[in-house]
Protein backbone atom coordinates (compact mmCIF):
# COMPACT_ATOMS: atom_id res chain seq x y z
CA UNK A 1 0.00 0.00 0.00
CA UNK A 2 1.24 3.48 -0.78
CA UNK A 3 1.39 6.37 1.68
CA UNK A 4 -1.26 9.07 1.42
CA UNK A 5 1.51 11.66 1.22
CA UNK A 6 3.40 12.06 -2.01
CA UNK A 7 6.48 13.36 -0.14
CA UNK A 8 6.64 10.26 2.04
CA UNK A 9 6.15 8.07 -1.00
CA UNK A 10 9.01 9.88 -2.76
CA UNK A 11 11.24 9.32 0.29
CA UNK A 12 10.36 5.62 0.32
CA UNK A 13 11.24 5.41 -3.36
CA UNK A 14 14.61 7.07 -2.71
CA UNK A 15 15.42 4.73 0.20
CA UNK A 16 14.71 1.68 -1.96
CA UNK A 17 17.56 2.81 -4.23
CA UNK A 18 20.03 1.97 -1.44
CA UNK A 19 21.61 -1.50 -1.37
CA UNK A 20 19.85 -4.16 0.73
CA UNK A 21 16.89 -1.83 1.36
CA UNK A 22 13.61 -3.27 0.19
CA UNK A 23 10.28 -1.46 0.11
CA UNK A 24 9.25 -2.57 3.57
CA UNK A 25 12.47 -1.39 5.21
CA UNK A 26 12.24 1.84 3.22
CA UNK A 27 8.75 2.41 4.61
CA UNK A 28 10.02 1.85 8.17
CA UNK A 29 12.87 4.30 7.60
CA UNK A 30 10.51 6.89 6.13
CA UNK A 31 8.16 6.51 9.08
CA UNK A 32 11.11 7.00 11.44
CA UNK A 33 12.23 10.12 9.55
CA UNK A 34 8.71 11.53 9.99
CA UNK A 35 9.07 11.23 13.76
CA UNK A 36 12.58 12.70 13.91
CA UNK A 37 13.15 16.34 14.96
CA UNK A 38 13.57 18.63 11.95
CA UNK A 39 17.15 19.61 12.87
CA UNK A 40 18.24 15.93 12.91
CA UNK A 41 16.76 15.40 9.46
CA UNK A 42 18.57 18.51 8.21
CA UNK A 43 21.84 17.11 9.63
CA UNK A 44 21.32 13.85 7.72
CA UNK A 45 20.50 15.72 4.52
CA UNK A 46 23.58 17.95 4.94
CA UNK A 47 25.80 14.93 5.55
CA UNK A 48 24.50 13.25 2.40
CA UNK A 49 25.18 16.29 0.25
CA UNK A 50 28.57 16.93 1.89
CA UNK A 51 29.68 13.40 1.05
CA UNK A 52 29.09 14.10 -2.62
CA UNK A 53 30.50 17.64 -2.54
CA UNK A 54 33.64 17.25 -0.45
CA UNK A 55 34.77 13.65 -0.60
CA UNK A 56 37.24 12.77 -3.32
CA UNK A 57 39.76 10.07 -4.07
CA UNK A 58 43.33 10.39 -2.87
CA UNK A 59 45.47 10.50 -6.02
CA UNK A 60 48.15 8.39 -4.31
CA UNK A 61 46.25 5.58 -2.61
CA UNK A 62 42.71 5.97 -4.06
CA UNK A 63 41.14 5.97 -0.60
CA UNK A 64 38.23 8.35 0.01
CA UNK A 65 39.37 11.62 1.54
CA UNK A 66 38.44 15.27 2.02
CA UNK A 67 41.97 16.46 1.24
CA UNK A 68 44.27 15.17 -1.46
CA UNK A 69 46.65 13.46 -0.60
CA UNK A 70 44.78 11.78 2.23
CA UNK A 71 46.02 12.14 5.86
CA UNK A 72 47.61 8.68 5.76
CA UNK A 73 49.59 9.33 2.58
CA UNK A 74 50.93 12.67 3.82
CA UNK A 75 51.69 11.53 7.35
CA UNK A 76 55.44 11.50 8.16
CA UNK A 77 54.68 9.06 10.98
CA UNK A 78 53.61 6.31 8.60
CA UNK A 79 56.06 3.86 7.07
CA UNK A 80 55.91 4.71 3.36
CA UNK A 81 58.08 1.74 2.41
CA UNK A 82 55.23 -0.68 3.15
CA UNK A 83 52.07 -0.55 1.04
CA UNK A 84 49.01 -2.56 2.02
CA UNK A 85 46.77 -3.31 -0.97
CA UNK A 86 43.06 -3.56 -0.13
CA UNK A 87 39.89 -3.97 -2.15
CA UNK A 88 37.73 -1.11 -0.82
CA UNK A 89 38.01 1.95 1.45
CA UNK A 90 36.10 0.02 4.14
CA UNK A 91 39.03 -2.40 4.33
CA UNK A 92 41.32 0.51 5.24
CA UNK A 93 39.00 1.29 8.16
CA UNK A 94 39.06 -2.36 9.26
CA UNK A 95 42.87 -2.47 9.24
CA UNK A 96 43.18 0.91 10.95
CA UNK A 97 40.94 -0.38 13.74
CA UNK A 98 43.57 -2.99 14.58
CA UNK A 99 46.05 -0.22 15.45
CA UNK A 100 48.83 -2.64 14.38
CA UNK A 101 49.62 -1.40 10.91
CA UNK A 102 51.80 1.69 10.41
CA UNK A 103 52.38 1.54 6.67
CA UNK A 104 50.34 3.14 3.90
CA UNK A 105 47.57 1.78 1.67
CA UNK A 106 46.54 1.32 -1.92
CA UNK A 107 42.83 0.85 -2.61
CA UNK A 108 42.11 -1.19 -5.73
CA UNK A 109 38.46 -0.20 -5.96
CA UNK A 110 37.29 -3.80 -6.30
CA UNK A 111 38.66 -7.18 -7.15
CA UNK A 112 39.26 -9.16 -10.33
CA UNK A 113 36.10 -11.13 -10.99
CA UNK A 114 35.86 -12.83 -14.39
CA UNK A 115 32.28 -13.94 -13.61
CA UNK A 116 31.24 -10.31 -13.13
CA UNK A 117 33.34 -9.02 -15.99
CA UNK A 118 35.70 -7.05 -13.72
CA UNK A 119 39.24 -7.21 -15.05
CA UNK A 120 42.57 -5.66 -14.03
CA UNK A 121 41.88 -2.62 -16.21
CA UNK A 122 38.80 -1.78 -14.16
CA UNK A 123 40.88 -1.51 -10.97
CA UNK A 124 43.73 0.72 -9.74
CA UNK A 125 46.37 -1.92 -10.50
CA UNK A 126 48.22 0.07 -13.14
CA UNK A 127 48.41 2.94 -10.65
CA UNK A 128 49.89 0.59 -8.04
CA UNK A 129 52.68 -0.42 -10.41
CA UNK A 130 53.29 3.22 -11.29
CA UNK A 131 53.44 4.07 -7.61
CA UNK A 132 56.11 1.45 -6.93
CA UNK A 133 58.28 2.14 -9.92
CA UNK A 134 57.02 5.08 -11.98
CA UNK A 135 59.17 4.09 -14.95
CA UNK A 136 57.75 0.54 -14.92
CA UNK A 137 54.10 1.58 -15.29
CA UNK A 138 52.52 -0.31 -18.18
CA UNK A 139 51.07 1.76 -20.97
CA UNK A 140 47.28 1.77 -21.09
CA UNK A 141 46.16 -0.41 -23.98
CA UNK A 142 43.00 -2.13 -25.09
CA UNK A 143 44.75 -4.18 -27.73
CA UNK A 144 44.91 -7.97 -27.31
CA UNK A 145 48.22 -9.68 -26.55
CA UNK A 146 49.37 -10.23 -30.11
CA UNK A 147 48.56 -6.69 -31.17
CA UNK A 148 50.05 -5.28 -28.02
CA UNK A 149 53.40 -6.97 -28.68
CA UNK A 150 53.48 -5.77 -32.28
CA UNK A 151 52.77 -2.25 -31.12
CA UNK A 152 55.42 -2.34 -28.42
CA UNK A 153 57.95 -0.35 -30.39
CA UNK A 154 55.61 2.47 -31.24
CA UNK A 155 54.33 2.80 -27.67
CA UNK A 156 57.92 2.94 -26.39
CA UNK A 157 58.62 5.77 -28.78
CA UNK A 158 55.64 7.77 -27.61
CA UNK A 159 55.85 7.03 -23.88
CA UNK A 160 58.34 9.78 -23.02
CA UNK A 161 56.26 12.31 -24.90
CA UNK A 162 53.06 11.17 -23.17
CA UNK A 163 54.75 11.30 -19.77
CA UNK A 164 55.78 14.89 -20.18
CA UNK A 165 52.27 15.89 -21.23
CA UNK A 166 50.37 14.00 -18.55
CA UNK A 167 48.56 16.27 -16.10
CA UNK A 168 49.04 13.62 -13.38
CA UNK A 169 52.81 14.03 -13.58
CA UNK A 170 52.34 17.66 -12.74
CA UNK A 171 50.37 16.60 -9.67
CA UNK A 172 53.09 14.16 -8.64
CA UNK A 173 55.77 16.82 -8.91
CA UNK A 174 53.67 19.19 -6.83
CA UNK A 175 52.99 16.53 -4.20
CA UNK A 176 56.71 15.71 -3.97
CA UNK A 177 57.38 19.25 -2.84
CA UNK A 178 54.55 19.36 -0.34
CA UNK A 179 54.75 15.83 1.02
CA UNK A 180 58.23 14.45 0.29
CA UNK A 181 57.66 11.47 2.61
CA UNK A 182 54.97 10.19 0.27
CA UNK A 183 57.13 10.28 -2.83
CA UNK A 184 60.77 9.83 -1.88
CA UNK A 185 60.62 6.56 0.04
CA UNK A 186 61.19 3.48 -2.06
CA UNK A 187 58.57 0.80 -1.45
CA UNK A 188 60.14 -2.35 -0.01
CA UNK A 189 57.08 -4.47 0.69
CA UNK A 190 53.58 -4.81 -0.69
CA UNK A 191 51.08 -6.59 1.55
CA UNK A 192 48.09 -8.00 -0.30
CA UNK A 193 45.14 -7.76 2.08
CA UNK A 194 42.43 -9.00 -0.29
CA UNK A 195 39.60 -11.24 0.82
CA UNK A 196 40.33 -14.98 1.02
CA UNK A 197 38.02 -16.04 -1.81
CA UNK A 198 38.39 -16.95 -5.49
CA UNK A 199 38.26 -13.32 -6.62
CA UNK A 200 40.78 -12.30 -3.96
CA UNK A 201 43.09 -15.17 -4.92
CA UNK A 202 42.89 -14.24 -8.61
CA UNK A 203 43.70 -10.61 -7.80
CA UNK A 204 46.55 -11.54 -5.45
CA UNK A 205 48.24 -13.88 -7.94
CA UNK A 206 47.83 -11.41 -10.77
CA UNK A 207 49.34 -8.54 -8.78
CA UNK A 208 52.17 -10.67 -7.45
CA UNK A 209 53.05 -11.69 -11.04
CA UNK A 210 53.13 -8.03 -12.03
CA UNK A 211 55.21 -6.90 -9.05
CA UNK A 212 57.79 -9.70 -8.90
CA UNK A 213 59.93 -8.29 -11.73
CA UNK A 214 60.08 -4.97 -9.85
CA UNK A 215 62.08 -6.57 -7.04
CA UNK A 216 59.56 -5.66 -4.34
CA UNK A 217 58.74 -8.14 -1.59
CA UNK A 218 55.11 -9.22 -2.06
CA UNK A 219 53.33 -10.83 0.90
CA UNK A 220 49.73 -11.78 1.61
CA UNK A 221 47.89 -11.64 4.92
CA UNK A 222 47.43 -15.05 6.54
CA UNK A 223 44.34 -17.13 5.85
CA UNK A 224 42.86 -19.80 8.08
CA UNK A 225 40.91 -20.24 11.26
CA UNK A 226 39.15 -17.34 12.98
CA UNK A 227 40.07 -16.69 16.63
CA UNK A 228 37.56 -18.56 18.77
CA UNK A 229 36.91 -21.01 15.93
CA UNK A 230 36.87 -24.76 16.21
CA UNK A 231 39.14 -27.13 14.25
CA UNK A 232 36.46 -29.80 14.22
CA UNK A 233 34.02 -27.61 12.34
CA UNK A 234 36.47 -26.00 9.95
CA UNK A 235 36.18 -27.09 6.33
CA UNK A 236 39.07 -28.78 4.49
CA UNK A 237 40.04 -25.80 2.36
CA UNK A 238 40.24 -23.45 5.35
CA UNK A 239 42.24 -25.96 7.40
CA UNK A 240 44.57 -26.60 4.50
CA UNK A 241 45.29 -22.85 4.16
CA UNK A 242 45.74 -22.61 7.93
CA UNK A 243 48.35 -25.37 7.80
CA UNK A 244 50.12 -23.72 4.87
CA UNK A 245 50.27 -20.42 6.70
CA UNK A 246 51.52 -21.86 10.00
CA UNK A 247 54.17 -19.84 11.80
CA UNK A 248 56.96 -20.91 14.16
CA UNK A 249 56.62 -20.07 17.85
Amino acid sequence: MQFTSESVEALVEQFTRLPTIGRKTAQRLAAYVLKMPREDVVEIAKALVAVKDHVKQCTICYNVTDADPCPICRSPKRDHSVVCVVEEPNDVLALERTGEYRGVYHVLGGVISPLDGVGPEDLHIRELVARLRPSAAPEPSDAPAEEASSEATSSEETSSEAASESPENGQVAERSTLYPEAEDVEVQEVILAVNPNVEGDTTAYYISQLLKPLGVSVTRIARGLPIGGDLEYADEATLSRALEGRSSL
Binding site: L115, N197, Y205, G228, Y233, T238, S240
Partner: protein, 248 residues
Protein backbone atom coordinates in the same frame (compact mmCIF):
# COMPACT_ATOMS: atom_id res chain seq x y z
CA UNK B 1 11.40 -32.60 0.16
CA UNK B 2 14.83 -32.65 1.78
CA UNK B 3 17.39 -33.05 -0.96
CA UNK B 4 20.98 -34.16 -0.52
CA UNK B 5 22.99 -33.93 -3.71
CA UNK B 6 26.44 -33.27 -5.11
CA UNK B 7 26.98 -29.83 -6.54
CA UNK B 8 29.58 -27.59 -8.14
CA UNK B 9 29.33 -23.94 -7.14
CA UNK B 10 28.99 -21.80 -10.25
CA UNK B 11 28.91 -18.41 -8.58
CA UNK B 12 28.12 -16.73 -5.29
CA UNK B 13 27.02 -13.19 -4.57
CA UNK B 14 26.75 -11.28 -1.32
CA UNK B 15 23.27 -10.87 0.05
CA UNK B 16 22.48 -8.61 2.97
CA UNK B 17 25.01 -8.20 5.75
CA UNK B 18 26.05 -11.81 6.26
CA UNK B 19 24.42 -14.06 3.66
CA UNK B 20 25.14 -15.22 0.15
CA UNK B 21 23.08 -16.36 -2.80
CA UNK B 22 24.92 -19.15 -4.57
CA UNK B 23 24.14 -20.70 -7.93
CA UNK B 24 24.86 -24.41 -7.83
CA UNK B 25 25.04 -26.95 -10.61
CA UNK B 26 23.66 -30.01 -8.88
CA UNK B 27 23.75 -33.60 -10.06
CA UNK B 28 20.06 -34.15 -9.39
CA UNK B 29 18.37 -30.83 -10.11
CA UNK B 30 20.73 -29.08 -12.50
CA UNK B 31 21.35 -25.36 -12.04
CA UNK B 32 19.56 -23.73 -9.12
CA UNK B 33 19.99 -20.82 -6.75
CA UNK B 34 20.21 -21.23 -2.99
CA UNK B 35 20.46 -18.78 -0.15
CA UNK B 36 23.07 -19.56 2.51
CA UNK B 37 22.11 -17.51 5.54
CA UNK B 38 25.01 -16.26 7.65
CA UNK B 39 27.56 -17.80 5.29
CA UNK B 40 29.79 -14.72 5.40
CA UNK B 41 30.20 -14.78 9.16
CA UNK B 42 33.74 -15.81 10.20
CA UNK B 43 32.48 -18.85 12.05
CA UNK B 44 29.92 -19.88 9.43
CA UNK B 45 29.38 -23.63 9.05
CA UNK B 46 29.52 -23.20 5.28
CA UNK B 47 33.19 -22.18 5.46
CA UNK B 48 34.80 -22.04 2.04
CA UNK B 49 32.34 -24.45 0.43
CA UNK B 50 30.46 -21.73 -1.46
CA UNK B 51 33.44 -20.49 -3.43
CA UNK B 52 33.05 -20.86 -7.22
CA UNK B 53 34.41 -24.20 -8.52
CA UNK B 54 33.94 -25.93 -5.15
CA UNK B 55 32.75 -29.53 -5.42
CA UNK B 56 30.42 -30.04 -2.49
CA UNK B 57 27.65 -32.11 -1.07
CA UNK B 58 24.73 -29.87 -0.24
CA UNK B 59 21.52 -30.33 1.70
CA UNK B 60 18.48 -28.10 1.24
CA UNK B 61 14.73 -28.24 1.56
CA UNK B 62 13.57 -28.33 -2.06
CA UNK B 63 10.27 -26.74 -2.94
CA UNK B 64 9.41 -26.71 -6.63
CA UNK B 65 7.41 -23.48 -6.43
CA UNK B 66 10.29 -21.59 -4.86
CA UNK B 67 12.86 -19.78 -7.01
CA UNK B 68 15.42 -19.66 -4.23
CA UNK B 69 16.02 -22.71 -2.05
CA UNK B 70 17.44 -22.41 1.47
CA UNK B 71 20.75 -24.18 1.95
CA UNK B 72 21.12 -25.91 5.29
CA UNK B 73 24.38 -27.84 4.87
CA UNK B 74 27.37 -27.84 2.59
CA UNK B 75 30.61 -29.83 2.80
CA UNK B 76 33.52 -30.35 0.41
CA UNK B 77 33.44 -33.72 -1.38
CA UNK B 78 36.86 -33.12 -2.89
CA UNK B 79 38.60 -29.80 -2.31
CA UNK B 80 40.48 -28.56 -5.38
CA UNK B 81 43.29 -26.89 -3.44
CA UNK B 82 45.68 -26.59 -6.38
CA UNK B 83 43.32 -24.58 -8.55
CA UNK B 84 43.38 -21.76 -6.02
CA UNK B 85 47.18 -21.65 -6.08
CA UNK B 86 47.63 -20.95 -9.77
CA UNK B 87 46.31 -17.96 -11.72
CA UNK B 88 46.14 -19.89 -15.00
CA UNK B 89 44.15 -22.71 -13.41
CA UNK B 90 41.79 -20.25 -11.74
CA UNK B 91 41.06 -18.45 -15.00
CA UNK B 92 40.39 -21.73 -16.83
CA UNK B 93 38.17 -23.05 -14.02
CA UNK B 94 36.23 -19.81 -13.72
CA UNK B 95 35.63 -19.73 -17.47
CA UNK B 96 34.34 -23.32 -17.34
CA UNK B 97 31.84 -22.56 -14.57
CA UNK B 98 30.82 -19.35 -16.33
CA UNK B 99 30.02 -21.35 -19.48
CA UNK B 100 27.90 -23.83 -17.53
CA UNK B 101 26.18 -20.95 -15.72
CA UNK B 102 25.34 -19.24 -19.01
CA UNK B 103 24.44 -22.23 -21.16
CA UNK B 104 22.43 -24.46 -18.81
CA UNK B 105 18.76 -23.85 -18.12
CA UNK B 106 17.41 -23.50 -14.57
CA UNK B 107 16.67 -26.87 -12.97
CA UNK B 108 17.60 -28.76 -16.14
CA UNK B 109 19.19 -31.95 -14.89
CA UNK B 110 22.18 -32.96 -17.01
CA UNK B 111 24.38 -35.59 -15.40
CA UNK B 112 26.79 -35.68 -18.36
CA UNK B 113 27.48 -31.96 -18.16
CA UNK B 114 27.89 -32.29 -14.40
CA UNK B 115 30.41 -35.10 -14.88
CA UNK B 116 32.22 -33.14 -17.59
CA UNK B 117 32.57 -30.10 -15.33
CA UNK B 118 33.78 -32.27 -12.48
CA UNK B 119 36.22 -34.12 -14.74
CA UNK B 120 37.61 -30.81 -16.01
CA UNK B 121 38.03 -29.31 -12.54
CA UNK B 122 39.62 -32.48 -11.25
CA UNK B 123 42.18 -32.59 -14.10
CA UNK B 124 42.75 -28.86 -13.69
CA UNK B 125 43.54 -29.44 -10.05
CA UNK B 126 45.99 -32.24 -10.87
CA UNK B 127 47.59 -30.76 -14.00
CA UNK B 128 51.26 -29.94 -13.62
CA UNK B 129 51.55 -28.14 -16.96
CA UNK B 130 49.48 -26.97 -19.94
CA UNK B 131 46.37 -26.57 -17.79
CA UNK B 132 45.15 -24.00 -20.31
CA UNK B 133 44.58 -26.83 -22.84
CA UNK B 134 41.71 -28.04 -20.70
CA UNK B 135 39.47 -25.10 -21.60
CA UNK B 136 39.09 -25.73 -25.36
CA UNK B 137 38.69 -29.42 -24.56
CA UNK B 138 35.91 -28.61 -22.09
CA UNK B 139 34.23 -26.30 -24.60
CA UNK B 140 34.26 -28.91 -27.38
CA UNK B 141 32.86 -31.59 -25.10
CA UNK B 142 30.22 -29.21 -23.78
CA UNK B 143 29.24 -28.43 -27.38
CA UNK B 144 28.85 -32.16 -28.03
CA UNK B 145 26.68 -32.63 -24.94
CA UNK B 146 24.52 -29.65 -25.88
CA UNK B 147 23.85 -31.22 -29.28
CA UNK B 148 26.31 -29.65 -31.70
CA UNK B 149 29.33 -31.93 -31.73
CA UNK B 150 31.84 -30.88 -34.41
CA UNK B 151 32.00 -33.27 -37.35
CA UNK B 152 35.65 -33.88 -38.01
CA UNK B 153 36.91 -35.87 -40.99
CA UNK B 154 40.37 -37.13 -40.10
CA UNK B 155 41.44 -37.51 -43.74
CA UNK B 156 40.60 -33.91 -44.58
CA UNK B 157 42.52 -32.70 -41.53
CA UNK B 158 45.54 -34.81 -42.51
CA UNK B 159 45.42 -33.53 -46.11
CA UNK B 160 45.27 -29.82 -45.25
CA UNK B 161 47.74 -27.81 -47.34
CA UNK B 162 50.46 -25.71 -45.74
CA UNK B 163 48.51 -22.46 -46.12
CA UNK B 164 45.70 -23.77 -43.94
CA UNK B 165 42.02 -24.39 -44.47
CA UNK B 166 38.58 -23.50 -43.21
CA UNK B 167 36.46 -24.15 -40.17
CA UNK B 168 32.77 -24.47 -40.94
CA UNK B 169 31.10 -22.81 -37.94
CA UNK B 170 27.80 -24.51 -38.73
CA UNK B 171 28.99 -28.13 -38.61
CA UNK B 172 32.30 -27.68 -36.84
CA UNK B 173 33.98 -29.48 -39.72
CA UNK B 174 37.50 -28.73 -40.90
CA UNK B 175 37.44 -28.10 -44.64
CA UNK B 176 40.03 -27.63 -47.39
CA UNK B 177 40.71 -23.99 -48.37
CA UNK B 178 38.80 -24.27 -51.65
CA UNK B 179 35.50 -25.28 -49.98
CA UNK B 180 32.86 -22.59 -50.09
CA UNK B 181 30.41 -22.82 -47.18
CA UNK B 182 28.99 -19.43 -46.22
CA UNK B 183 29.65 -20.01 -42.53
CA UNK B 184 33.36 -20.84 -42.80
CA UNK B 185 36.31 -18.95 -41.43
CA UNK B 186 39.91 -19.26 -42.50
CA UNK B 187 42.58 -20.65 -40.16
CA UNK B 188 46.14 -21.94 -40.27
CA UNK B 189 46.86 -25.64 -40.73
CA UNK B 190 48.44 -25.96 -37.27
CA UNK B 191 45.47 -24.32 -35.58
CA UNK B 192 42.95 -26.49 -37.45
CA UNK B 193 44.87 -29.64 -36.59
CA UNK B 194 44.96 -28.63 -32.93
CA UNK B 195 41.23 -27.86 -33.13
CA UNK B 196 40.60 -31.37 -34.49
CA UNK B 197 42.62 -32.86 -31.62
CA UNK B 198 40.57 -30.90 -29.06
CA UNK B 199 37.43 -32.23 -30.72
CA UNK B 200 38.45 -35.88 -30.64
CA UNK B 201 41.33 -36.64 -28.28
CA UNK B 202 41.17 -37.64 -24.62
CA UNK B 203 42.24 -35.45 -21.72
CA UNK B 204 45.68 -37.02 -21.28
CA UNK B 205 46.53 -36.53 -24.96
CA UNK B 206 45.36 -32.92 -24.82
CA UNK B 207 47.47 -32.21 -21.74
CA UNK B 208 50.52 -33.53 -23.60
CA UNK B 209 49.91 -31.22 -26.57
CA UNK B 210 52.30 -28.26 -26.75
CA UNK B 211 51.02 -25.20 -28.58
CA UNK B 212 52.99 -22.10 -29.50
CA UNK B 213 51.31 -18.94 -28.16
CA UNK B 214 50.04 -17.66 -31.57
CA UNK B 215 48.60 -21.09 -32.44
CA UNK B 216 47.02 -21.43 -29.00
CA UNK B 217 45.39 -18.05 -29.35
CA UNK B 218 44.10 -18.95 -32.84
CA UNK B 219 42.62 -22.28 -31.67
CA UNK B 220 40.97 -20.64 -28.67
CA UNK B 221 39.35 -18.10 -30.98
CA UNK B 222 38.18 -20.88 -33.32
CA UNK B 223 36.54 -22.76 -30.44
CA UNK B 224 34.95 -19.59 -29.06
CA UNK B 225 33.62 -18.67 -32.50
CA UNK B 226 32.20 -22.16 -33.01
CA UNK B 227 30.31 -22.11 -29.71
CA UNK B 228 29.17 -18.51 -30.17
CA UNK B 229 27.80 -19.37 -33.62
CA UNK B 230 25.54 -22.01 -32.07
CA UNK B 231 24.39 -20.40 -28.83
CA UNK B 232 24.53 -16.81 -30.14
CA UNK B 233 23.74 -14.22 -27.45
CA UNK B 234 23.77 -16.82 -24.66
CA UNK B 235 27.53 -17.16 -25.07
CA UNK B 236 29.09 -15.34 -22.11
CA UNK B 237 31.54 -12.61 -23.02
CA UNK B 238 32.35 -11.13 -19.58
CA UNK B 239 34.87 -13.77 -18.60
CA UNK B 240 36.34 -13.75 -22.10
CA UNK B 241 37.13 -10.04 -21.78
CA UNK B 242 38.73 -10.46 -18.33
CA UNK B 243 40.65 -13.52 -19.47
CA UNK B 244 42.24 -11.59 -22.31
CA UNK B 245 43.26 -8.83 -19.86
CA UNK B 246 44.78 -11.35 -17.44
CA UNK B 247 46.79 -13.04 -20.18
CA UNK B 248 48.38 -9.88 -21.55
Amino acid sequence: MILRTEAVVLRAMKYGETSQIATLFTREKGKLAVIAKGSRLPKSRFGSTLQPMSYTQVVFYYKATRGLQTLTESAHVQPFHNIGRDLEKMTVGLRAVELVYALMQEEQEHADVFNLLLHTLSHLNDATERARNLLPLFQMRLAALLGFAPQIDRDIVAALPEDGGLLDLDTGAVLPPDALPTTARKASRTALRAYAIFARADTEAVLRMHLEPPVRSEVEHLVDDYLRFHVEDAYPSRGEKVLSQLRR
